[in-house]
């Protein structure tokens, strides 16, 4: 392996940054393009953006801190259920308090679970996060009063008018699309900022050599717990959006498959630089839809696709892009 390949792709080359910006602009222009079945595509893209927020939140743990969580969907699902239970059946509740509240709720759940799981390392961390998530999954799955295996409907979209102006009507698919896009951009900018902050540098140090971090005076437990809590809160934002968009939550949202889904999106895109999580989420979902349209044995194709990607592009799509850019120099 060349020395260069050991450098994480944290700092994105100029060309990649421009490509991301153009991608973002194209996304923002999409609703303006007249086409047949626009609503369908809008909904699909909105869903991809929500999953991208979810994937970025996981990347903070997996790619930045080196904590592979197989239970991250628990916080995604908990936030979705929170919205479902907060929403009365007769009138919508306000976005302005329900979104922060559900995100804080998810962060609190992450904090409580984190107190236990963050003590563990490596394979044990993977196992314990999965165990906690499965507990929560079955708590909802087996409990009729929590919706059971059927799940719960979210009767309304959250109401988001400002001082009587209802320009932000989340029932409008275009508005919901832009609202999600703004949250996607905000999450990205926040996490990129965080990545190069003293806190983010310490997390990267923990990923690289936790033992040495302690020897130079870092209480690594507090750093990991904070990262776990933040990631849980951001997963909560994604879960809230998911529940609001689909109008329905079920235990699958917090299940093992959903957690694994996020891990694969992050790996596919390229870990540790946040941008990769977005690219991975879109690429993964796109491929998934493509295969689903092609054959009913799409899982088989998806499996092959993942294997090929991991073998030929271990640093994900971002790794390929950076390699392209270096080759063209």
């Amino acid at each position: 392996m060349s020395a260069h390949s050991q450098v994480p792709l944290e700092r994105l080359p100029r060309a990649v940054r421009i490509a991301l910006l153009l991608g973002g602009l194209a996304l923002a222009m999409f609703p303006l393009v007249p086409m047949d079945g626009r609503d369908f595509y809008l909904q699909m893209l909105t869903q991809m953006m929500i999953l991208a927020i979810f994937a970025m939140s996981l990347d903070l743990l997996q790619g930045v801190t080196g904590l592979v969580s197989l239970g991250h969907a628990a916080f995604f699902g908990l936030a979705g259920y929170s919205l479902a239970f907060l929403m009365p059946t007769d009138m919508p509740i306000s976005l302005w308090w329900s979104l922060p509240l559900t995100a804080l709720g998810a962060a609190l759940a992450a904090l409580i679970i984190g107190v236990f799981v963050v003590r563990t390392h490596g394979i044990y961390f993977i196992m314990v996060t999965m165990a906690f998530a499965q507990m929560i999954y079955f708590l909802f799955f087996d409990n009729k009063s929590l919706g059971g295996s059927d799940g719960v409907y979210v009767s309304f979209k959250p109401q988001a008018s400002i001082a009587g102006w209802d320009g932000i009507d989340l029932n409008n698919k275009v508005t919901f699309f832009y609202f999600t896009l703004i949250l996607l951009a905000a999450t990205y900018l926040f996490l990129r900022r965080l990545l190069f902050s003293p806190f983010g540098r310490a997390l990267a140090g923990i990923r690289t050599n936790e033992h040495r971090m302690r020897a130079i005076g870092y209480g690594t437990y507090g750093y990991k717990l904070t990262a776990f809590t933040l990631a849980g809160g951001l997963a909560g934002v994604a879960g809230y959006l998911w529940a609001a968009q689909t109008g329905y939550v079920n235990p699958d949202l917090m299940g093992f498959h959903m957690s694994a889904h996020a891990i694969m999106m992050v790996i596919l895109g390229g870990m540790g630089n946040i941008a990769g999580a977005i690219v991975g989420a879109f690429a993964f979902e796109y491929t998934l839809h493509l295969f689903k349209d092609t054959t009913k044995h799409w899982q088989l194709l998806m499996g092959c696709f993942i294997v090929l990607m991991v073998v030929f592009a271990p640093k994900g799509i971002m790794g390929l892009l950076v390699r392209q850019e270096e080759a063209s120099k």
Binding site: F196, S197, R201, I216, G217
Partner: protein, 261 residues
């Protein structure tokens, strides 16, 4: 260094009493006493398996002792975690190079320097400021890199610099945490002669202001640097004293230096 009070020369900064570590039936370190004084280098020598590394790990908090105490600046730090000891002014380097190998030299040392800004991780200020723009950290980072002679390598990835330079980086990281007590576990291990000489020079420079415990196999370096020596065999101290006393000690000659003299 950042100590505000003018330090007394020879002041004992770290003292270990009856330090013992048993692994099952084996006492890897058995009733060791030592004092580390400011501006003094204490060398701990002994054959392989004498317990020198275990002793270093006990002093640094990497492992907890079975018995005995470790006092730092009058404070009982016996059961402190490594990070708590580091924050109290203890810096250590490792026998096996232990760095952030995918980071640049600068980022390695910067991370060490950053540890002295005691923001709690959950303090949001920590999430939004730009790490590269913390001027006082950058300054102490530059100082540590310059002192350890790595200025030319500042932006090189740590995995790609030579072994000797990685040993220097170990020292630079330790220095960036502004320690008062330095535990150096075989800083010359695996170094070429020229590299070893510059490391000895560096350690002589560091003597002023620090209390240093040097675990080392290179006897030339030990006798050049040390003000006092402690000789360990099978987990026990068999002799301590000045270099000339140790040279003259028959027990030491028999146990350890015998074949060389």
């Amino acid at each position: 260094m950042s100590t505000a009070v003018t330090p007394a020369k020879d002041e004992v900064l770290l003292s270990a009493r009856d330090l013992t570590k048993r692994f099952g039936g084996l006492a890897a370190v058995n009733g060791v006493n030592l004092d580390l004084r400011r501006d003094r280098i204490l060398a701990v020598i002994g054959p392989n398996g004498a317990g020198k590394s275990t002793l270093t790990n006990l002093l640094s908090g990497d492992i907890l002792p079975s018995a005995g105490t470790v006092m730092m600046c009058g404070l009982d730090t016996t059961r402190y975690s490594p990070e708590a000891k580091s924050q109290r002014g203890l810096g250590r380097s490792y026998q096996k190079t232990n760095i952030f190998s995918s980071f640049t030299v600068w980022d390695n040392v910067r991370l060490a320097a950053q540890s002295r800004r005691r923001y709690a991780p959950w303090n949001p200020v920590q999430w939004f400021i730009c790490a590269d723009e913390q001027l006082s950290i950058n300054a102490s980072c530059e100082r540590a890199i310059e002192l350890s002679g790595l200025t030319a390598r500042t932006n090189t990835v740590a995995a790609t610099i030579s072994h000797g330079e990685q040993r220097q980086l170990e020292i630079a990281m330790t220095l960036a945490t502004e320690p008062q007590v330095l535990l150096l576990d075989e800083p010359l291990a695996g170094m070429g002669q020229a590299e070893a000489e510059s490391m000895v020079e560096l350690l002589l420079k560091l003597k002023k202001g620090h209390a240093i415990c040097l675990v080392e196999h290179d006897m030339d370096a030990v006798f050049t640097l040390a003000d006092s020596l402690t000789v360990m065999v099978n987990g026990q101290v068999i002799a301590s004293g000045t270099p000339s006393e140790i040279r003259a000690d028959t027990a030491v000659q028999a146990a350890y230096l015998g074949e060389e003299h």
